[in-house]
Assembly symmetry: C2
Homo-oligomer: 143 residues x 2
């Protein structure tokens, strides 16, 4: 049997604001009027899941390959259908890798491994028919 993940949400009253707790114990806010104080939107958290999943894979693989990385950032954007249900149709992920003499082919392999093999969230998006595109940029950084 595979692993089970859980989450729980409690409605906090009028403005479609919910307080959430993930099974791991981490707490967060989700809101119909998303913002820095009120909470993220539900569909934003879906993107966060995809970004988090592939971000970890890429860091993990690059460290295994002993690449000298000092920073990784992920920017993700998702275009949604203009009809209801407003599912994601297109997702773009930009990987920004900072470090010293980082190999472009190592970064490409890490992204490829994540997108085709390890990143369950991204693979689920593809199974749902989303066109997931990736791009990367390497920034030289001397310590």
């Amino acid at each position: 049997m595979g692993k089970t993940n859980t989450a729980r949400l409690v409605w906090k009253g009028e403005n479609l604001h919910f307080r959430g707790q993930l099974g791991s114990g981490y707490e967060f806010d989700v809101s119909g009027q998303s913002g820095p104080e009120t909470g993220g939107s539900a569909m934003e958290f879906l993107l966060a899941g995809v970004a988090g999943c592939t971000a970890m894979d890429v860091v993990h693989v690059l460290r295994k390959k002993r690449e000298n990385i000092s920073g990784v950032e992920i920017e993700i954007s998702g275009l949604r259908a203009d009809e209801i249900p407003a599912v994601y149709t297109d997702v773009d992920i930009l990987y920004i890798v900072r470090g010293h003499n980082v190999s472009a082919s190592a970064v490409e392999q890490a992204i490829e491994l994540s997108q085709t093999k390890y990143c369950s969230a991204s693979i689920m998006f593809k199974q749902a028919g989303v066109d997931v595109r990736t791009n990367y940029r390497i920034e030289e950084e001397t310590a």
Copy 2:
């Protein structure tokens, strides 16, 4: 054209810990060693998206139907494949609705509308082949 959502993650160093910011401005933590302090796991945030999406729909529909609701909680659990990629295969969502004389058929209709028409996250999960099951419980609460 539909709406675009965005998110951004920045690696915080050794332990696969990333600080995230959603396009709406809300900040969060995602971590390979998930916990109350370190952050949620990426796959937990995917469940949070589904839960948040359907939670808002159900509150919205029940208020439109002028049901006298005082509390709503959502419990979601997702079983993952035991091979890589460990995608979700089965998701169970329990809706707990508190209030006075809340109509069971109104709750059923709200869940049905969300699951088949409005909740993009849940519909994407179904498109990805996930078996999404729902259940509900109404708890009488006198103000």
